[in-house]
């Protein structure tokens, strides 16, 4: 009898915990993705990226970033045009992002007068030498990982993401803390196969822009050697109606002056 009672108690506990995690994790991930990567139909911002190496030396790169959603939560286009330092000014990236598939990426180097396609494949390569990966800027495909709820408090959910294809990434898993109010991912910690936290991304400044909570400053840290990068947005605007033809090969060679600060 006693055993039965215990079993019953255990079963009911199990039920409670199941109902607690009945929070729809997939829904949180989806909403967070929309909030972080897809606000507005399009957007424009002037970005400056501070790259600090392990010796503490600072480099800064400035660029304009234009974005246009083709489908919320789906395909997007990006145009990134560098303005500083002067010797890389007008270097331009164009991206047709296809979540779940391979992105199309182009690069124009004015100094070499060279337009190159960048082979699809690994998205976890450095973004222009910073601690950020290409994927950190363009947004990681939410279907690439399995998510589970780790914890929850009044203000945030903390999820654990385990990659579906472990061979394609350098991490074993990461945790991400999503703010309940803004739905923005505020802190991501990446762990290696030894369970060591070696990389961190954090939203250090959030501001409301036209009703969209926007991460104005984001930091990516290499916890192994102390190097880090900060990506800061200025003059962010949404729904500015950037024409589709701005996101074309022509813009690579001839940056659209109306939209890009050089």
């Amino acid at each position: 009898m006693k055993i039965l009672a215990k079993l019953f108690a255990a079963a009911s506990l199990l039920l409670v915990s199941v109902s607690a995690s009945a929070v729809d994790v997939q829904d949180i991930v989806k909403r967070a993705n929309l909030a972080a990567v897809y606000p507005g139909n399009d957007g424009r911002a002037e970005a400056r990226m501070l790259i600090v190496d392990k010796q503490g030396r600072k480099q800064m790169r400035q660029f304009t970033i234009l974005r246009r959603n083709i489908e919320a939560g789906g395909d997007q286009q990006f145009l990134v045009v560098f303005s500083r330092p002067s010797d890389v000014a007008r270097t331009t990236f164009l991206v047709d992002k296809h979540p779940g598939g391979d992105d199309d990426r182009w690069l124009y180097l004015p100094g070499l007068d060279l337009l190159k396609r960048i082979a699809s494949g690994d998205k976890r390569t450095s973004f222009v030498g910073s601690t950020f990966f290409y994927e950190d800027i363009s947004g990681r495909d939410i279907n690439a990982d399995n998510f589970e709820l780790l914890s929850e408090d009044d203000s945030a959910w903390t999820l654990k993401a385990i990659p579906k294809d472990a061979a394609s990434v350098e991490f074993a898993y990461y945790t991400v803390k999503i703010d309940k109010k803004t739905m923005l991912p505020m802190l991501s910690d990446y762990f290696d196969s030894a369970g060591k936290n070696y990389r961190r991304m954090s939203a250090t400044k959030v501001k409301d822009i036209q009703g969209f909570p926007t991460i104005m400053e984001m930091k990516a840290e290499n916890l192994r050697d102390g190097s880090f990068s900060i990506n800061q947005l200025r003059k962010a605007q949404y729904d500015v109606n950037i024409p589709e033809n701005v996101f074309s090969e022509r813009s690579l060679r001839m940056p659209p002056r109306a939209w890009v600060k050089l």
Binding site: R48, L50, D53, K54, Q55, R57, K58, Q59, M60, Q62, F82, R84, P85, S86, D87, V88, T91, L107, L109, P110, G111, L112, L114, L115, K116, R117, I118, A119, G121, D122, R124, T125, S126, F127, V128, G129, S130, Y134, A167, A194, N222, R224, D225, S227, I230, Q232, R234, K235
Partner: protein, 838 residues
């Protein structure tokens, strides 16, 4: 005064024992505070300019000391099994504490830049997963061959060896990392692969570890052998325990004092016990020899002990002082570990002397009559000692008289031969060669350098003087004219310190309000423009100069391979353009170079470029791979390039500097060679002056210097003739040679003058000299020469060298003292003794 001390010692043996015991205990109490420093770099003071620069260059380019791992497969390394093991080993290496994961160089962590589809460039991992089949392995082979930075660095040209370079946070971690790697390798299934681990950091750190093991084996082994030899001569375990205690107490007190005073035990100072033991034993053997020869049952042992010390006090004092001078003279070298070594050996000699004149007589006078009587019976069958040694020595007065001219002639010829040998001395060192040839690290070094372009690193760095701030102020004024007051004020502060200006402006650019941001961006442009003059290593002219430097290094024939910014730029340029060999060339403008680097930084390892150039492009470094770490070979490169730079000076405003461990070893060896030579000459002169002073005669002083001169000359002459390198241990041993080879001469001359006077004639006096004093010298030579023979089988070459030196010093100085001195003194006897009489 000396009488009082000895009197007191003999009368109060217990106090002496207690004092010695307490001193030893105090010294032992300090031992746990031991700190160990096995880094040969510390041969140079931290403030040495070459060393400061070496550290600064490492910091500037994020260069680390590397553990080199090589996997050799004679069937070729491009197969799934071998590459699989490499992959696994790399993964495990990343987990080892102290390894700088982000900089680890291995195929599995290398990025590959290739042509994708038409007009497409691709960055992908070279070997993220081990190849699944032979075709994939072949693909990796093809990729590597296209990447000059990897080819012949990570995979050998013959494709039979594949390497890993494991950067570590500090050199003193390398032994542990080495052991952990070995443990991983042990877990692999046996196959065609041989694993080799080497590199200067591993060699240096491992040497330190093995050195201490050696110390724990060699010193006691030598001690035991010395004990056995003395037992053979003196036939009393109780009696010969005295010198053993003296030697041990000397070593313990000296090492305790050194550790207690906070000096780390360095490679040099680890040898102090080995140096002090023979010196400490020598004095005691003289005393024991004398005591043993004179003791007969019924004799007053206290009086005999006093008498023995009384007779030997002067020569022992002289020999101790000369040895002290010899070692103290090492202080003239600007090499901190050598100074510590010299000072504490000198200190130890003083301790040994004091113990010899107090502890030994106290000990002897405490022995029971029974023990001494037994000893006496065993030793003296007849009235006179009649051992083989004694009989041999008795023939010498006659022989040196008859063959006087021949002996002197042979001595002179020996000096001539030595001069010729010394002229052929090769000054060379390489910490790798401190291991025996069959040692795994040295063997690995040999094998890997047969396959690869070289496992020894040296760096040639080029630095531009900071860009001028001229004109910045002028242009800034125009911008600031319309700026808000706060910007003007902040600029005022920032522009005060040009060194931090760039960073301070960046700080403002990141934090300024949207309203003031534009001003800061413009000010940044102005500062950037001025600084652009400093962004030299984007400019084709400077890159072409680097290219010519690398070409010259290769042309020298002494360098296995060079890696530099130029190679990286050419590779990226090729892949950006067409992938064809014709595009393997430098970009044609500064912008093109900057953008090629930006493109490269879209890879997995963007920071790799900063190992070749600083982010402000003001400084660049060329890495050299050398097949040999011999200073001689590094010097060939240095000499060749000195000529080359004279003909092809660097563009205006560039400074050129050498660094890297292989180079640093040259610097400290130069300091060592010149330092040792200086100290040898100065102590030679001082000892000569002391001899003249002690014997109150210029001629006697010069005669006393003869055995020493011949010993040093012959030893170094033989080094030259046999082609053995004049290296760190050989250099330091000159002090020991000087300190020890004068000993016998002092004893001989002192006793000779005394005996001739006592017996009232040359012939009788000389006969007497070849009794007790002669036997003491002979016994000493045999005890020390053979006693240190365990060093010869040590796996570390410097220990072997010490063993050979000690034997050579003893044999040569003993033979020259016993043959050459009586010949010369005999030749000059009328002059010498008349003078002495007067």
């Amino acid at each position: 005064m000396k009488h009082k001390i000895m009197e007191w010692a003999v009368e109060h043996p217990r106090s002496i024992f207690w004092l010695t015991g307490i001193l030893c205990l105090v010294a032992l109490a300090f031992m746990p505070r031991i700190t160990v420093d096995t880094d040969p770099e510390n041969m140079l003071p931290h403030s040495n300019p070459a060393r400061v620069l070496h550290e600064e260059v490492k910091q500037r380019f994020g260069l680390s000391d590397m553990v080199v791992v090589g996997i050799v497969n004679e069937q070729g390394v491009y197969n799934p099994t071998t590459l699989g093991k490499l992959h696994k080993l790399s993964e495990e290496a990343l987990k080892i504490e102290g390894v700088i994961a982000d900089d680890l160089m291995s195929l599995s962590l290398s990025d590959n830049i290739t042509q994708g589809g038409p007009g497409e460039i691709s960055f992908h991992w070279m070997m993220r997963q081990p190849p699944a089949n032979q075709a994939e392995a072949e693909q990796i082979s093809a990729w590597v061959e296209r990447l000059p930075l990897l080819n012949n660095t990570l995979v050998s040209g013959d494709k039979k060896a594949v390497g890993m370079y494991i950067p570590i946070v500090a050199k003193d971690q390398s032994y542990r990392v080495y052991q952990e790697l070995l443990a991983v390798i042990d877990g692999f299934e046996p196959g065609d692969e041989q694993f080799h681990i080497t590199g200067l950091p591993v060699a240096e750190d491992t040497f330190g570890v093995e050195m201490f093991k050696q110390m724990a084996i060699s010193a006691p082994a030598a001690g035991l052998l010395i004990f056995v030899m003395m037992l053979f001569f003196f036939r009393s375990a109780a009696l010969v325990t005295a010198p053993m205690i003296v030697a041990m107490a000397t070593v313990i007190i000296t090492m305790g004092a050194m550790i207690g005073m906070g000096f780390p035990v360095h490679i040099m100072s680890s040898m102090i016990p080995i140096f002090l033991m023979p010196i400490a034993v020598v004095d005691s053997v003289h005393i024991l020899s004398e005591f043993n020869d004179h003791y007969r049952p019924g004799k007053d042992k206290k009086a005999l002990a006093r008498g023995t010390i009384d007779e030997l006090f002067q020569p022992m004092l002289f020999t101790s002082i000369t040895s002290i001078v010899g070692f103290a003279s090492l202080n003239t070298a600007d090499i901190p570990p050598v100074r510590v070594f010299g000072s504490f050996v000198a200190f130890g000699i003083a301790v040994a002397f004091l113990l010899s004149i107090t502890f030994v007589p106290a000990y002897m006078s405490c022995l029971s009559d029974e023990t001494l009587d037994k000893m006496s019976k065993r030793v003296h069958s007849g009235e006179k000692p009649n051992s083989f040694l004694a009989r041999l020595l008795r023939t010498l007065p006659g022989f040196t008289g008859a063959a006087r001219s021949l002996i002197i002639l042979v001595g002179a010829l020996g000096l001539g031969f030595s001069a010729w040998g010394i002229s052929k001395i090769v000054i060379n060192d390489n910490p790798m060669n401190w291991f025996e040839e069959k040692h795994p690290i040295r063997y690995a070094d040999k094998v890997l350098n047969q396959h690869f372009a070289g496992t020894y690193e040296a760096y040639l760095s080029f630095n531009s003087e900071a860009g001028s701030a001229d004109g910045v102020e002028q242009k800034a004024k125009a911008i600031l004219a319309s700026a808000p007051a706060e910007v003007q004020q902040q600029w005022q502060t920032i522009s005060q310190s040009p060194a931090t200006m760039a960073d301070a402006i960046v700080e403002q650019q990141m934090t300024a309000s949207d309203e003031t941001l534009d001003y800061w961006d413009q000010l940044a442009d102005v500062a950037d423009e001025a600084g652009a003059a400093g962004r030299l290593f984007l400019q084709p002219e400077y890159l072409r100069y680097l290219e010519s430097v690398q070409q010259a290094l290769m042309d020298s024939g002494y360098v296995g391979k060079t890696n530099g910014l130029v190679d990286l730029l050419k590779t990226v340029n090729r892949e950006l353009r067409s992938g064809e060999a014709t595009d393997y060339r430098l970009p044609t403008s500064a912008e093109a170079s900057a953008q090629a680097i930006l493109a490269f930084q879209g890879s997995h390892r963007p920071a790799d470029v900063w190992h070749f150039v600083t982010p402000d492009y003001g400084s660049s470094v060329v890495w050299m791979q050398l097949k040999s770490g011999d200073n001689q070979d590094m010097n060939l490169v240095l000499d060749y390039m000195q000529d080359w730079f004279a003909k092809n000076p660097a563009p205006e405003g560039l400074t050129v500097d050498w660094s890297g461990l292989t180079y640093i070893n040259v610097v400290w060896q130069d300091a060592m060679v010149s330092g040792m030579l200086k100290s040898l000459i100065s102590s030679f002169v001082i000892v000569a002056l002391m001899m003249m002073f002690l014997f109150r005669s210029v001629v006697w002083g010069l005669i006393a210097m003869l055995p020493l001169t011949l010993t040093i000359s012959l030893i170094y002459g033989l080094i030259g003739v046999t082609g053995k390198n004049y290296d760190m241990p050989v250099a330091v041993l000159s002090a020991l040679t000087l300190g020890m080879s004068i000993d016998f001469a002092i004893h001989f001359i002192d006793r000779c003058r005394y005996m001739v006077e006592k017996h009232g004639g040359w012939a009788k006096g000389l006969d007497a000299v070849f009794e007790e004093p002669g036997r003491a010298i002979g016994r000493n030579a045999i005890v020390i020469a053979l006693g240190f023979s365990p060093l010869l089988i040590a796996p570390l070459v410097p220990y072997q060298t010490v063993g050979i030196f000690l034997a050579s010093i003893m044999v040569i100085s003993c033979v020259t003292t016993l043959l050459l001195l009586p010949s010369i003194i005999g030749l000059l006897r009328n002059y010498l003794f008349k003078q002495a009489d007067a």
